[in-house]
Symmetry: D2
Subunit: 147 residues, 4 copies
Amino acid sequence: MVIWAFSMKSDKKSNPGDYILRARYADTDQMGIVHHARYLEWFESARGHLIRATGYTYKDLEGKGYLMPVLEACVSYIKPVEYDDLVRIRTRVIEASRLKIKLEYELTRDGEEEIRTRGYTLHCFMNPQGKPVRVGKDILDIFQSIM
Amino acid sequence: MVIWAFSMKSDKKSNPGDYILRARYADTDQMGIVHHARYLEWFESARGHLIRATGYTYKDLEGKGYLMPVLEACVSYIKPVEYDDLVRIRTRVIEASRLKIKLEYELTRDGEEEIRTRGYTLHCFMNPQGKPVRVGKDILDIFQSIM
Amino acid sequence: MVIWAFSMKSDKKSNPGDYILRARYADTDQMGIVHHARYLEWFESARGHLIRATGYTYKDLEGKGYLMPVLEACVSYIKPVEYDDLVRIRTRVIEASRLKIKLEYELTRDGEEEIRTRGYTLHCFMNPQGKPVRVGKDILDIFQSIM
Amino acid sequence: MVIWAFSMKSDKKSNPGDYILRARYADTDQMGIVHHARYLEWFESARGHLIRATGYTYKDLEGKGYLMPVLEACVSYIKPVEYDDLVRIRTRVIEASRLKIKLEYELTRDGEEEIRTRGYTLHCFMNPQGKPVRVGKDILDIFQSIM
């Protein structure tokens, strides 16, 4: 049983990190709903969007030599999303250290409160040669500013 | 921390459910490794391959009106896989009831023992109208035969 | 050699059908650029966006029993697009009859004029049973309004 | 109208470059058929499979500094393919020079003769810095051996 650290319901204030997207036809499968693997791509975009709110972008981080591969990803699919639905993903950094970052995601249809999907991803920092690295305080500060 | 129920290492006997695939170029991202979302598509294929070993196919199940949407999916990315790598996925049913099925996946490079990715997916049974259903003993038997 | 029917360069006026998106990490491959298959997903979204400008949506069309499968798709990749690039896709209906619709797409980076990718897709109308159908004047009018 | 250079029908002899795959659930969309963008991923795999028949792999070519980005891709979708279908892709090099390679693809369901999809891709050679290059006779010979 996956335990979630934050809940959008208990915190309804607007969030600059909210990411809005429209489900594409290519996101669906023959069950008539968005395929479960696509949510990981959506969370990735939501993550990039949240980081952008700090003034840095994930692209900047890669440019400085800090890649953030996914160590662990879990998704709980509560209610499906369909083609053309406008969805809102609220992302939050829930753990941040010089070695690892953990983010949580809550997905609703835009304008609704009912959470349809939640998930988390755990990341380390890695250099371009593929070795795990500790980041400096400047990088840690970026992530702590969006916790 | 995700806790895994079975280990390929402790059970080296050959498994008819092993699924072999070659990582495609389209599976990679600019980090030079297979993108983390693609493993869910691979696990899905590995799951279909395991079910086929029973004499039924997942397509047959959908034909009988039993869809198996994913309720939960978790993946632990231990070591990456690269373009053109030949990978082996060992799949096992670890929980089976008339309401839910849980499967675990272990991924190695073919010919190696080191587990590079593991994951699980939890499924319910759903009818074509989208309602959860209890399956009969005949369907449950299919999944119990591959535990 | 593919011959293109319209050119964004020769028609700089703003277009309500312009569709803006940001290239996702999952869109890239190990060449460090957006994978060529993804453009077809982007064009599909751009197409849906253009149709929406008529007041109808592609979802509405499917709801009325008119599916629009792709009969032919061609893409010319002139210059690549990278992760995090903001791209603009200008879409136009270039042929419309009761049997078939052809659309063309031109992709630039937002704020630039240089065309990086162009493509077309040809569609027929099909009923939910998979048979090609002729649409009525009302449906044809929708597409002619965005030529 | 796209004109195709070769036809599987007129050449039924077995081909070492034939590539067999099974359509995945994730390949489908809500139309209940394989999504049109996925064929480009399949053709890419079929291309890699054909090159492998020469003793070299596309990975080897990239290792030598010769990337082969797609300049142009066209697909003609004649009849759809469904989930779990076993499909066969016959690939052939139809043009080869020191600057460009063109390949054609014909897709049938395994065991059938009816062509369901055909397509071509045109590629140049590019160095890792993104500049087009002319390859030596050794590389050209690889492609000419599979024409």
